[in-house]
Structure formats: structure tokens, C-alpha cells
Amino acid sequence: MPTRTIDTIDHELREIIDAVEHAANYGMAHRDQPQAVERTLQDCEELLRHVMDASILDD
């Protein structure tokens, strides 16, 4: 069962969404730098994992 408030989850979802969108935009702008894009994609995967595995609901 969720132990966090909806407000807290909302706040953390916003942070993750903003970070992924920022990272994706950065990656798009640096498409000529494969290593930078790869790091960006790894960041996106790590951020989204908190939503996909629902660990965002855990304390």
C-alpha cells in the first residue's frame, strides 16, 4: 500500500518528468556527441525506472 501522500508523489513525479524532458532536450541538442547522448539516455532510463517499478511510492 502507498505510504506517501498524493502531494508528495505528485511533487516527485513532477521532478522526474521535468528532469527527463530536460535530459531529452539536451540529448536532442547534442546529437553530434554520442557519448553525451548515451549518458543522457542512461539518466532518462534511471529516472523513469522510479515510475515504472513504482518505487516512487516507497519511502
Binding site: P2, R4, I6, I9, D10, L13, R14, I16, I17, V20, E21, A23, A24, N25, G27, M28, R31, P34, V37, E38, T40, L41, C44, E45, L48, V51, M52, A54, I56, L57
Partner: protein, 238 residues
């Protein structure tokens, strides 16, 4: 037909039927929003054909999560906690199209082209609806869904114009998703759809929305040089 605008503070005064319908539609909408990323992030964020497409997958997933968050917040306004949907497995999703997994690029492309388009239809139903907090989140979600649909159309077009194998695979994906998409509109002559319309929560009966979708999407499929599947094949709801 009911036309008043209802805010969260007025919600408790509404009839049980109105409350049930709003509660139901918020839960289904949130489930579909978060169900999308659960279909494709695992396989396509690392596995899309190139880095640019992987970035598109990441940004699309983030936007869909944001749509979920917005619907979750509307639900929270009436005391409904939808955070449990974050833990729901794909097999438990409310709508059949969101059960399973998208593991290939052609399925991702066609999902955007055909299924995100139905997401647009669904949000258009809520535009101007009597539950004001739901109406208020429609423009932002719709504008991002339009981007997802166009990405899907472009990726589908690339595959349709690609090698013979790509063309074959994307046609198979269209054949898979087209009937799922038509089923997403629900049963024709649905009693519940009529109640949604009566309470000003939706505009069109299921069969009308489905007909509009077919009229829009069939020419788009043909424009790409692909075959429109038999609209009655592999269907669950008519």
C-alpha cells in the same frame, strides 16, 4: 442534458450516478495514461533503432507520466487516490490495448499512429465537459498527444517506405493494433455512454466516435501505401 459546470467543491452535492461516472472515467483515463509507458519503456527506451528515437521514447514516456499525474490530481480533488495504478501490472490494465508489451519499433510506431490518436479522441470527449477540473486539463494533454500521434505517423511512414521486410512488419503491426483501437471505443449502443452524454461528461456515443475515427484513420493508412485491415476481424466489441 446536464450543462452546469461542476467544481470539486460541488462534487459531493451531485447525484450518485454523476459521482460514479466521474470516478470511473478518471480511473480509466489515468490507467491508460500510465499504461502506455508501461508497454514500451522497458524494451524501446534501450532498444529503439537509434539515439534520437530513444530520446523521443523517453520524452513521450515523460509526457504520458505527466498526463497520469494531472488526472491523478483531478481525482485527488474528490478524495480519490489513484496512486495504486502505478503498481498495477500490464495484465491488470482496464483496456485491452494496454495489456502486454511493445517490444518492436514497428509496434511502437503504429501504437503512436493509431492508439495515441484514440487518446486524442478520448480527451476531445472531455473538452467542455461538465466536470470543470477534467475539462481544465484537456488542452495541455491534447497538445502533447498531437505530438505523439505525429511522431507515430512519421515513424510508421518511414517503415512503410523502407525495405520490403520493414514494410511487411509495419503492415503486421497495423493489423495487430487496428482492431484493438476500434475496440477501445467500447460497445455500440452502450447504456453507460448514453449516461455520460446525459450528464455532459462526453459528447458522442461510442459508435459515432468509432465511425469518426475510421473516417479519419483509414485514408491515413492508405496514404502510407498500407492496407486497411478488415474492420470486423479480431474484434471483441462492436
Amino acid at each position: 442534458m446536464f450543462t452546469d459546470k461542476i467544481d470539486a467543491k460541488d462534487f459531493p452535492k451531485m447525484s450518485d450516478e454523476y459521482k460514479d461516472l466521474v470516478t470511473r472515467v478518471l480511473a480509466i483515463q489515468a490507467d491508460c495514461e500510465i499504461g502506455g509507458p508501461h508497454l514500451y519503456v522497458d524494451k524501446l527506451l534501450p532498444g529503439a533503432p537509434d539515439a534520437t528515437k530513444r530520446l523521443v521514447v523517453a520524452r513521450t514516456a515523460a509526457e504520458e507520466v505527466d498526463h497520469f499525474r494531472k488526472v491523478m490530481d483531478v481525482a485527488a480533488g474528490i478524495g480519490l487516490d489513484l496512486t495504486y495504478l502505478l503498481r498495477r501490472s500490464n495484465q491488470e490494465r482496464a483496456v485491452d490495448a494496454f495489456r502486454g508489451e511493445i517490444a518492436t519499433w514497428e509496434d511502437y510506431a503504429v501504437f503512436g499512429f493509431l492508439i495515441d490518436r484514440i487518446g486524442r479522441y478520448q480527451m476531445e470527449e472531455f473538452e467542455g465537459c461538465t466536470y470543470a477540473p477534467l475539462d481544465a486539463i484537456c488542452p495541455g494533454i491534447l497538445s502533447e498527444e498531437l505530438g505523439h500521434i505525429e511522431n507515430g505517423r512519421q515513424f510508421t511512414a518511414e517503415l512503410a517506405n523502407g525495405t520490403q521486410d520493414e514494410r511487411h512488419r509495419v503492415q503486421e503491426a497495423v493489423d495487430r493494433w487496428y482492431p484493438k483501437g476500434l475496440d477501445m471505443f467500447g460497445h455500440s449502443g452502450s447504456w453507460r455512454a448514453e449516461r455520460y452524454i446525459e450528464w455532459g461528461l462526453k459528447h458522442r456515443p461510442n459508435e459515432t466516435a468509432r465511425e469518426h475515427y475510421i473516417a479519419e484513420v483509414n485514408p491515413l493508412i492508405e496514404e502510407l501505401g498500407l492496407q486497411v485491415p478488415d474492420p470486423e476481424a479480431n474484434r471483441k466489441f462492436f
